[in-house]
Symmetry: C2
């Protein structure tokens, strides 16, 4: 965990809100000026705190109208199985999130696809690649909120 002072924090808030802002604007917003802000951003980037710069695309407008949360239970816990499962998830672009969980359910995935048929294709492909004991899919009806912003 990195040490971050108040100005760093403000810079991150700005960048996370709108990364297209100019250095001058950010500097003014955080109460400093160009050079020090630029040095801080550079340092945060080098430290890996600031990662890739991306744009948020409108999934619905682009025809990705189905979103599933997939709860997975497995009986297999050996290293080989886990590695194969991990690889399968990394390779499939429709998997937007994957977490290993504590407790009853072993994994949760967020899967974004064009429609229910595309989800079934994904599901069939996945279970043919790796053995899973139990799969529950939760279908999203409405995305109420979606952000990657951290509550700094």
């Amino acid at each position: 965990m990195v040490r971050i002072d108040e100005i760093d924090r403000k810079i991150l808030v700005e960048l996370q809100t709108d990364a297209s802002r100019s250095l001058d604007e950010i500097a003014k917003a955080v109460g400093s000026s160009k050079t020090p802000v630029w040095n801080r951003i550079r340092k945060l980037r080098d430290a890996g705190v600031i990662g890739a710069q991306t744009v948020k695309l409108d999934a619905e407008a682009l025809g990705f109208e189905a979103c599933f949360f997939v709860l997975i239970r497995t009986s297999e816990h050996d290293a080989g199985w886990q590695q194969a499962f991990l690889k399968a998830l990394q390779e499939r672009p429709e998997v937007q999130e994957a977490h290993r969980l504590a407790g009853d359910i072993d994994y949760i995935l967020k899967v974004r696809v064009r429609n229910a048929r595309a989800y079934d294709a994904f599901y069939q492909a996945l279970i043919s690649e790796v053995r899973v004991h139990n799969v529950t899919a939760l279908l999203s009806m409405e995305e109420i909120k979606s952000t990657t912003a951290l509550p700094l």
Copy 2:
């Protein structure tokens, strides 16, 4: 749903991979040149297909070490309750995602907090604001994959 041709698609792939690339680089990558690419980006932005530009921050490095998926069942389905619940979610910055679901479970949230105690504080605040019938929290042990990129 917007009509997108092959060049638009390539531009979106480039932008969602790395939005800091220069127009020249993007133009070369998609096999076109500056001005037409710029016009397409402008059009896509105006149409709302391209949204905010953000940076990905390293949550762990910044001390956000706990991530929960929260499954919520409710018995209340009237408009007033739903509005209050929605408002509560929008206002709480630790809620990174919220979806209304089809089926047994009514809502799923993704909640990012500093630690388990912070999650409990969030949970207590939420249930004091709105009545919910049943809440299950899934604790993430490991973020295997995380992307907002659509499989264009």
